[in-house]
Amino acid sequence: MSADHVSLVDVNNFYVSCERAFDYSLRNRPVVVLSNNDGCVVARSQEAKDLGIATGEPFFKVQRFMDSHHLAVRSSNYELYGDMSARVMELLGRYGTWHEVYSIDESFIGLEGSLEQVRSTAAQIRKAIDKVVGVPVCVGVSSTKTLAKLANHIAKHNPGLGGVCVQQLMDQRVLDNILSRVPVTDVWGVGRKSGAKLASMGIETIADLRDADPLLIRKKFSVVLQRTVFELNGQRCIGPVEERADRGQVMFTRSFSTPVRTHEAMEEVMSIYAQKAASRLASEGRYASLLTVTAGTSRFAQGESSFPSAQVRLPRPTRDPILLSKLAIAAMGDLMQPGMDYVRGGVILSGLSDSPGEKQLDLFGLGDEQEEEEQKNVSSVVQDISARFGAKSIGLGPAGMAQSPAWTMKREHISQRYTTEWDELLEVRA
């Protein structure tokens, strides 16, 4: 018998838990975290869930709970969540025989040993992350990824298990009872759409899907869903899951707090985002050969919509912020439609390499050698200054303004960036 087990570890209410790790006043009360621009709820504490607040609910709709139920509201603090996630993941990696980061708050890890040993390791993991990083996790263990996800789900919804569920150690009748009650859409990999189609075939619960004919499922749906059926029967067939963060590109896209309507404002956006993306490339030591710009109107707006997008292939890999900024502005050029309210925009750098590539021969003689040399100097000066005095200290053109332009992200309820900014450390009283 194989002593190699699959476990899924994920942080409970991750964003809220990160906030609570530093701000004790948020404990034991309802808390919600808002999306970009404080638009709607993206994360909820258990207390907020109990109030009936749903994910995606617009902020103005939950505002009344702030007075009536002492609801606390926070803007998304991505710097904090990113840092806390990195800590959780590094710690997890120390326990597993293998480790796959699945999302900001979820990982699959391999554990070895007897079922009892694995249960004790899982409990240790839970205790360690709670103590060392300061956020609560649940651990689900089973023989396949799909079942580990399910075990995690069971651990989450049954507080009596102490946050750990080893599926094979469960009473078979209890497990069967759960599987025949939980809707099939709660299985990892079953979307709402296939859920409706499955229901029309009489497959409504997890137990129904587990007992379905894999060949029929493959014929009516896909090989992906067939794998899910195999996995529910304990047969491992989902390989390494790609990390969602893409190593192949650097993306800087954001929603604006106020819509962008004019050419000038869009130039500002493109210039700043290109420079941000360029400095991220520089910090990773990479160069891009393809630049993509995008913008878009709101998907919820009435009437016409507009989603301009353009790509520029660079003559050779670069990370020069001046060049990229100029190209981004030029690429967006006249694609904007007059009278439209653009609510988001972005610059994506792809075709990444670790070296700037060979300089191409200039057929027409000396060419722009001198100009390029100058640009190199300016951009290295810009990078040095931002490295020493902070990203807001200098920028090219519009990016250099001390006052943020009106369209930058609205984060009115943001907590301090306790772990990434020296001037936002938690203050403690001596």
């Binding site: 004790y24 800590r87 590094e90 060392v132 040095d384 450390l425 203050e427 403690v428 009283r429 001596a430």
Partner: protein
Amino acid sequence: MADEQELMPPDASQGPVQAVSAMGFPSPARDYFDGGLDLNRLLVRDRVSTFIMRVSGHAMQSAGIHDGDEVIVDRSLPVRHASVVIVNLNGQMLVRRWHIDGPKVGLLSDESPLPVWLDEGDEVGVFGVITRCLHHVR
């Protein structure tokens, strides 16, 4: 007198420069160079469990912690008698010395010669143990 800015090396932000000689006899010291002194290695036992906070107030000077200092906090260390800790006491984040006396636990500071004893009504949570203090000398 020279302006202090003028005494700064021109490219302090660039980090150490490594000389490369393309030809000739390699430096006999090269294999022994390991990046110089790295403060992170000295100050951070484990980055997963290490957090940095800023202190305000004057009640922990006997522990060498002054107003405006940054402290390095390790969450993974056990809290023992006389550990200097970050503790949440009834909603306030404090720097205090943990004082164990038999079954009783108290918090010590320069404010009083006796510990403030914790009782059941208090909401108490230890965030972590302070391992280092970064004192501002000027």
